[in-house]
Structures are given as C-alpha cells and as structure tokens.
Symmetry: C2
Subunit: 357 residues, 2 copies
C-alpha cells in the first residue's frame, strides 16, 4: 500500500492561526503535532515512510519537509497550482506507478482528526484487500452521529461485497452537503454515510477511470508520465496544469464510475471544519470554557474558546465566543458564527491585506 | 481662587489600561489629553497655574509633573498614603493657607468629564462668590438626566441663597448611591441632584468644620501646619497619616455641617465610571460600534467598544462587548458587566499578579 496525502488546502476557517502560508494541515490545532504530522504518524504502523506521498503547493514544500523528516524529499509532490482533487490524485498516481507499479493507493486529506486509530488502520487494510481483489474504487463512509450539514453523504445499496472478513457496500448515490431537514432524513434512513474524502484503489483502476471519465485530464497525465524524472518534468507539469480544468475526484470520477463501493466505518472521524468544532473537542472547565496556557480571569463566563498567547485574558459576562489571537490579529467570533471566519479572510483579501491572510 | 485637584484615585474600573501606576486620571481615555490635563486646562481661564494644586500619591508625582509642566513643582502635594478625601483636602488647605491666606478653594476630582466648560467655569465663579460672602460650604449638584445608580444624590430644600445672580440652595440631605427604584423616585421628585464631588469654600471655613466635626484629623493637621516648609515636614506628614483614619469629606464633614449649600448645575458632567460610559460617549458607526485606530473587520457585530492597538481585529457576531487590549492583558467584557472589571483587578491582586494591576 502507498499513501497519498492531499495537503494543498488553504484552511481559511482557522484564521488567524491559519494563513495562506500556514494552512490548517500544517498547524497544531488539537493535541500534539500538526494535523499533517498526525496524518502520517497514524499511517506508519501499516505504511512505511518511503511509501507515504504528500501532494502540496510550492509554498508549503519546505515546511512539509521540515515537519516530516522521515518522509523522503522526493515523495513530496508539488503542484504548480491547485486544481482540486482529481488532478492531484492523478499526478500522484503517476509517481506511484513509476516507483512501485500497480500498488494500492490510499488517498486521504491531511487535515482530518481520527480518534480510533487502530480501527482506522484496520479499515484501510480491509479496503485495500477488497480493492486488490475486486478492481473497484472504494470510499470510506463514516457512520453519521448527528444530522451534519457540513459534509457530503453517500447512500449505499443492499449489495454487499466481501473479501474474507472485509465487507463493503455498493454505492447507490453521492449527495451534496444537505440542508438540516434533509440531513435528518439521511440520518434516520440508516443507509447514508458521511463522505470522508478517503479513497482506496489500485493505481491501474483509477487510471482507467480517468481515461473513461476525464479524458482531457488523462491526456495531460499521459504527457506528464512521459517526462517524469526527466529534466523537462517540472516544465511539462506546469504547462499541463495551466490547461487542465479544476475538478474534484468526487464529481469527476466517483459519481460517474460504476464500480464504486463504500466501506462503512466508525473510527471517530472529524474534518475539523471550524473553530467551533475545535471548541467541542477541547477539554473544558466546569463552565464549558476551553482556555489555553497562561493567566485567565473568567467571571460569569461560559462556553468560550480562548487561545491568546503571552498575555493575561480577563473575560467578564462572556458567553459562547471564540477568541483567538496571533501576533498580527485578534479574532472575536460568536461560536455559532464560526463558519463565517472565512468571510473575514475574503474581506481582508479584497482589502489586499495579503500579509494577514 | 485656588484649585485643589484630588488625583489619588486608583481607577481599577479602567483595567487593563488603568493600573496602580497608571490610574484613570493619568490616562487619555476620551479625546485629547489625559483626564488630569483636561481638568487643569479647563480651569486655567479662571485660575492661573500657580494657584492649581494637585494632591497625589508618591508613585504618581513624577508623571503628574511631566503631564503638567505649567504647574509649579511645589504645588504637587504628595500624601504618604491614601486616607480618602477629608485628609487630602485638609492637607491641601494647609499649603494654601500658608501661601495665599484665606483663599477660596475649589476642590475637584481629577478624573471627571465636563462638556460645557464655559458653563462649568461660570458655576465655579458663582459658587466662589457665594462662598466668600456667606461663609458656607458649597457643593456642586448636577441636574440628573437619568436614574443613575452609580452616583450619590443631594436633596435640596426650598431655601434659596443668592449673591447677585449666583444662586444656591440649602442642602436637605445627602443620599448614598440608590437602587434603581429609588433613583427613579429621586429623578421624578425634581429636588435631587447628583453629587459631583466638586466643592467650593474658603480655607478658614473648611478648617473650622474640621475642628468641629473631625477633631482628631484637625489635631493632625495643626501638627503638620507647624512644620510646613521645614526639614521635618515630610516626616511629620508621614507620622500623622499613619495615625489619622480614612474618611471622606462627604461623610466626615458635609453630612454633619449646618452651613451647606448646593449649586445646581448642568454642564454635561460625567464621572466616567466604567468602560461602558466611555463607550456611550465615543463616536460610533451605524451599527453602534466604537473602534479605535487600525484595521477592523466587523461582520454582523454591534454595540461594541474595541480598543486594540497594533493588530487587526475581526469581530463576527459580536454584540455589546468591550474589548480592550494592552501589551500585557486583554479584557473582554459584556458592556452590562462593565462595573465588574474592578473584580478582575481584585482577583489579580489576590493572585499577587502585581505587575498586571
């Protein structure tokens, strides 16, 4: 098995901690280590570091190499520009094919949180077993625990595909992020899972799918493949990336392919989409306040996340707020408005405050 | 006329901007200049700087001299410890008597805001005229504009005392800070005024009152008077201050004296008792936010005071909060809880965080 960690995201929802050059996946948001470091660490018991690939932007390459000393430099694949997940996965597939042949690829985002790591690894091993035997595309589906409106959903059919003890379901439909009412129906139905963005397949199988469903992208990938590990490589990749369109693997392949299975899993997954989700995961005092290091005076205050370094924070009559401070910026945000932090970043972008974002 | 500005206050309600060594009166809180500078400035058209005295703590002497270059150094009277307003006024009276004889003393706090300065000065001139002619203690009463619970009140009687066009009323009672219901009754009655803490009297008249109502303090003052401008002065003052009890001029003299008048005035007076009062006085944007210099992003936020220097502040879904940051501390406080800021200071004091307070 080979892992492909997609680490190109911007993570504007964690501003001011996340910035263009310090996206969410490169930050330590909960617990020890950055999200990327934890993503790699939890794979290492089943995948050696030589088989871990990272796809990222040029601007993050150096920091990623610094964070992952065990991963070989040549495993850090740089995209000249972000074109969503399909090109990212296609490019990684080329490198893997060249180095390791028709391996099983585990594709996963760099910025998710997983609680039950042993369970997570067993899920990947099961998925790999099925992917190898059945020549299918496998996506990991998370059993929903609440009617989330921030995730895509996958509906599975009655058809079960098993290899030994490993069991997957044939996918019936992919559903976009639903409204709350729809999410409640999904949850109640019992046959909808959250789309985790984690995929498992053999390199040859995904390449066939690219050929069938994304021929233009496939042409570009073939062109790159010819020049891989030649002096012209970077130039060709840049040229191809200028031409190909931005498209997600879900929209470009998964929703159209016939041989798609979902493996239902339950390993405490969280895509950590906002400061409010961080708040919910952090340990809290009796009044529900999650405060960082340092001196705090909290009077009649509850439900707050406070991350302010290097100074005393006093809160009086404060409820359900997120307070995050960096050297350059102070964010004060109602917890229920945590999704709007990305609008702050958009606004700063329009004001051309590029040093802040 | 001689002015005595009482500048010994601690001003914990403006933490974190106000600290033990930087109390409210020495800060620029609204507009230009510190509160003390403005207190002196608005007196200068009627009292020359040589006749302006400041009573303060040792720790503030240097800063006060720096803020008031026009006031002679010897007019800055240092108390070895704060013993409330009666000793402060008594001590100042000794210096004034020695230098200027039986002058009219205008006693006033260093940390009040006054809008109609011409009106304010005319009020003092009127009060001085009556004080000279009638040998009375005059207090300036402010016509209340709302049922304030943070001020003491003065009830006046029907008896009018006039000298020329200057008119005062005999005081009937002094009332402590009332509850809201009582404050409403006071406001409706029409014969209650806010106690501004501004007093006008001849030196000889207040000294007689000390002799009658505060004999112990008066003995101490007489002892000091003997050694004034001698090498033993500081030592005697220190010894006397160790012995005298802490008592306010209101409780020690005004509530007991018979010859007390109140001069009703209406010059836009505000004792600026909390950050919420500052908020109310500051210019605000269309959503009622009062923000300082620098970059601000306000989304769906209203009624906030934001004073954060040197960094961008983003507020999302924030309502009716006070946000004040200094190098060492960040205060986040519901506007309706602004009075509780002093509890933050108390708590930091109990935690022995003396560098912060």
């Amino acid at each position: 098995m080979v892992a492909v960690i997609m680490a190109g995201g911007a993570g504007t929802r964690f501003w001011p901690k996340s910035k263009e050059n310090h996206p969410k996946q490169l930050l330590q948001i909960i617990g020890n280590g950055t999200m990327l470091q934890n993503t790699v660490r939890r794979l290492l018991p089943i995948i050696p570091p030589e088989k871990v690939f990272i796809v990222c932007k040029q601007a993050h390459q150096q920091e990623i190499a610094r964070q992952l000393p065990a991963v070989p430099q040549e495993n850090i694949i740089v995209e000249p520009q972000g074109k969503n997940t399909a090109p990212c996965i296609g490019l990684a597939a080329l490198y893997i094919q060249q180095r390791f042949g028709d391996e099983v690829m585990i594709v996963l985002p760099a910025d998710h949180l997983i609680e039950a790591e042993e369970n997570f690894r067993q899920t990947l091993l099961d998925a790999a077993k099925i992917a190898v035997e059945k020549n299918v595309l496998i996506t990991i589906g998370i059993k929903p625990t609440f009617p989330a409106t921030g995730y895509g959903y996958i509906q599975f059919s009655d058809e079960i595909v098993s290899v030994g003890s490993a069991t997957a379901r044939r996918v019936k439909t992919f559903a976009e992020k639903p409204h709350l009412e729809t999410a409640r129906v999904f949850l109640a139905s019992g046959d909808f899972l959250w789309n985790s963005g984690i995929f498992v397949w053999r390199v040859s199988v995904i390449r066939e799918q690219f050929e069938e469903h994304l021929p233009h992208l496939n042409d570009g990938l073939r062109e790159i493949a010819e020049y891989l590990n030649t002096p012209a490589e970077a130039e060709i990749i840049t040229r191809v990336y200028q031409q190909i369109k931005s498209i997600s693997i879900d929209y470009g392949v998964m929703e159209n392919a016939r041989n798609v299975l979902v493996l239902p899993a339950n390993f405490g997954w969280n895509d950590l989409g906002s400061w409010d989700e961080v708040y919910k995961l952090l340990p809290k005092d009796k009044d529900g306040n999650a405060v960082g290091e340092g001196e705090h005076v909290l009077l009649n205050s509850s439900g707050c996340l406070i991350e302010v370094a290097g100074k005393t924070v006093a809160a009086v009559g404060l409820h359900d707020l997120i307070i995050v401070e960096t050297e350059e910026a102070l964010l004060l945000c109602a917890r229920e408005s945590a999704q709007e932090v990305k609008e702050v970043v958009d606004l700063l972008k329009r004001r051309k405050k590029t040093n802040l974002i």
